[in-house]
Amino acid sequence: MSATAATNEASDLRDTALDGPELRVRLSKTWGTESGLWGALTTVDHKIIGRRYLITTFVFLFLAGLAAVAMRLQLAQPESKLIGPDLYNQLFTMHGTTMMFLFGVPVGEAFAVYLVPLMVGTRNIAFPRLNAFSYWVFLFGGLFLWISFFLNIGPDVGWFAYVPLSGPEFSPGKRADTWAQMITFTEVAGLAVAIEIVVTVLKQRAPGMTLDRIPLFVWAVFINSLVIIFALPAVVVASSFLIMDRLIGTHLFNPAEGGDALLFQHLFWFFGHPEVYIIFLPATGMVSAIVVTFARRQAFGYLALVLSLIAVAFLSFGLWVHHMFTTGLPQLGYAFFTASSMLIAVPNGLQIFCWIATLWDGRPDFKTPLLFVLGFFFIFVAGGLSGVLLASVPLDTQVHDTYFVVAHFHYVLIGGAVFPILGAIYYWFPKFTGRMLSERLGRWHFWLAFVGFNVAFFAMHISGLMGMPRRVYTYTAEMNWGALNLVSTIGALMLAASFALFLFNILRSMRVGAIAGDNPWGAGTLEWATASPPPPHNFDRIPFVTSREPLWAERDSLPVVTGLRVDNRELIASTVTEARAELREPSPEPSIWPFLAAIATGITFVASIFSPWAVVWGGALVAITLIGWFWPKGSKEDEG
């Protein structure tokens, strides 16, 4: 033992010795984040970073939503001259790219970053500095994309950026490079968070939280993180291949030199279909949490729900080709993908049935979060079923790339993900801020969104069946699509209005909302066992878990464990399956290096679309910041 370590031993203070307010004050001091700019740049608190992630993703949601409104206005009547094709193509590309990569994936991870450590009863996420780094990289990637857009360098090749259209010959300038590099940014961030979640769930669960006591939301985001780990590399490979074809003259997608345009589609959809479930799985976790709390009944078929999550995760990798039914691949292969695509309806159906059973046996309490979940049932089931229709090869040859598909996946993504996410905001806002959102505004928000959504997107099924293709910036009057498009635009405006209302509700409630208290909904999971908002160290003492809903099982007092250091960031590492405490794992302290590393990474990515050599010198830059990051600072945390 070195001298420093010895002195640490001397000043070793355990929570066994303390209690009540003093314990909380000391822990808050140990785990707290400095105030001011320095604190903001160096913080590693999963709650602060999770909140940032949430706010940032919602900012991107609103930006992409505005892009959608602009497109709907252009399409409101035939031959409209409001927006030209060049801008329109950038708009729908920005809309899709932002919704998928800057909202859909990160928003689920944002909830996870904030909630998982609370729900599994630990004091910080695993690898907190990686967490801080991932946020900065994500932020820079998103800003990079949108600044490019406002400089008229926004990508205009669709969120799927098919070659050859996005390739070196047909996309001059840097627009397509912007898309490809934004992918790299956001996927690096997304993969980092996924790994943190996986390790947090596997190794940092509170003692006693065996596998069958893990909250369903945690199961959902855990499995989701595994899907991310195996799906996201595909799109990174695809976008890297693309940018290499564009910048250093490789021929991966050039048929004249042995490449193949379909290779891009295979790589992209090998990611692209799991992507849909990456967006959907966290939402199922939110639905489970909300249903259980507001039905006042533990989840019916916990095991079935977990198993169907796993089944969905596996199947989601087996059906990417159903996005390529019109590319002329072998027919028999198509039949297989039809079957697998339809088969995924079984586990999804199973989940729906279990939730309905829970409500059936419970006593539904119709608060706003539950309203959004009911909206989810109504819309998502419809979207899922139209998906079964799309899985049929022959039918797909008719509706593929028409507005029918646009309607379908907005039913799935808005119904399946956005509605539960909005419900989740209403549900956890008290925990995030300590104040309740206005219930009255919430109901207005729900009904406006629900009606607006169905008006906007149901009509698109019809315009699709009337032969309207996707991604057209206008259409001629004699196609008879005008009326339906006008309806869609009106619905879209209602939807937009509902989000304005939502924003107002948030801003207002943050100042004047009713004080929430620890557990306003009388829920059963651990995040409600601590203050709202939680203190920097989450829990004064780490809970000892005896049940799936500890707060329902332990009415009078919560069992906890003691013996952790108070003067030093320490949390419990436990065994993977039965969660026996096995280490007092030190947790990293705030550091500026993740931020610097993110800047270095950003510079590397952006510079590399102007000169391939940036990868080399940028790589060196990143390496330096990483060494600074991992080099021990001689603080207590580093010494065993």
């Binding site: 098919y162 039949a335 089931v381 079923l385 509706v399 009337m466």
Partner: protein, 333 residues
């Protein structure tokens, strides 16, 4: 809850009628097949959706007393739920298998190979279609653009290639869509069963003017088709009156010839559509404008006002040059 379902049926019915580009308005056995399959799926899936919504509505009644212990469960009840849900899951599986079967059967019929009477090679390019009628006798192959004719009741084979980026060939009333991919060749087959003009459109995003990449299929009686084919094989008629003569001279002296071909004249450009019989087509600029002398002039004088970003450049013409060129082109029946 039932409201949307009824609206669905009504609107879908509406979608079927009075449209010029709809899969619900079939004009070939293939499209009929697809239309039937579509309605079967809609019926089955719609019924399932309704059932789930009803179950949900029932579930929202509140049997359990207020303040009951959320962890308390009734074993017998749970077992019953378990049985029902297992049954439903199995039912879902069966439904899925049945639909897969139906779908695969249709797929087999749809892509069944049949000896074709006419073979047309489609070249998709930004943002128009080139059609080559192939014939064993090379002198009888010919090229046209954005509109092609087929005889009613005869099997047609369409070979699909792309020159630049990926496009997708889609004439909903005749057949499902199929992509045109550079470096690959796809094909589709169909038999048109009633005469008429059917509209199609590019269905894969292909850049700026993806929205204005339409085409027309004219289905006509075999003898009319043969007459049309003979006319297309022949070179352009020399201009009859003086104005069209002036038009031809202007056409040849201007940039037009750099990109366009008019068989029977020195104009041999390969970049733009073949104009040998442009006057005989129903539309202009890939299904964007109805064919008329006025529209020809409007298109030539400012293509970018009509299709911003199109490859046809703006060229300086004085009014009577413009009119004579329009007249000449209109005369190319």
């Amino acid at each position: 809850m039932r409201r949307p379902a009824t609206i669905l049926v009504l609107l879908l019915a509406l979608a079927g009628c009075n449209t010029i580009q709809s899969p619900l308005d079939p004009a070939s056995p293939q499209a009929h097949d697809l239309n039937r399959l579509f309605w079967i799926f809609v019926a089955v899936l719609g019924a399932i959706w309704l059932a789930v919504m009803v179950a949900l509505a029932v579930a929202l009644r509140a049997p359990r007393p207020a303040g009951a212990d959320p962890l308390a469960t009734d074993r017998g009840r749970d077992r019953r739920f378990g049985i029902v849900i297992t049954g439903l899951a199995v039912a879902t599986g069966v439904m899925v298998l049945v639909l897969t079967g139906l779908s695969y059967a249709a797929q087999r019929r749809l892509f069944a190979v049949e000896e074709e009477a006419v073979t047309i090679r489609v070249m998709g390019q930004q943002w128009w279609w080139q059609f080559t009628y192939e014939d064993v006798d090379a002198s009888r192959t010919f090229i046209t653009a954005n509109e092609f004719h087929v005889p009613v009741g005869k099997p047609v084979k369409v070979k699909l290639n792309a020159v630049d980026v990926i496009h997708s060939f889609w004439v909903p009333s005749l057949m499902g869509k199929q992509d045109l991919i550079p470096g690959r060749e796809n094909d589709i087959r169909f038999v048109a069963e009633r005469p008429g003009v059917y509209r199609g459109q590019c269905a894969e995003f292909c850049g700026l003017q993806h929205a204005h990449m339409g085409l027309l299929v004219v289905v006509e009686a075999p003898e009319d088709f043969e007459r049309w084919r003979e006319a297309q094989i022949s070179a352009a008629q020399p201009p009859t009156d003086s104005e069209r003569q002036k038009g031809l001279e202007a056409f040849l002296s201007k940039p037009c010839v750099m990109c366009h071909t008019v068989r029977g004249t020195p104009a041999g450009g390969r970049t733009g559509p073949d104009l040998t019989h442009v006057g005989g087509r129903l539309t202009l600029a890939a299904g964007t404008l109805p064919m008329s002398r006025g529209n020809l002039a409007a298109w030539i004088v400012d293509p970018h006002g009509i299709k911003p970003g199109v490859n046809m450049p703006l060229i300086k013409l004085d009014p009577d040059e413009l009119n004579s060129i329009a007249a000449y082109l209109e005369g190319l029946k």
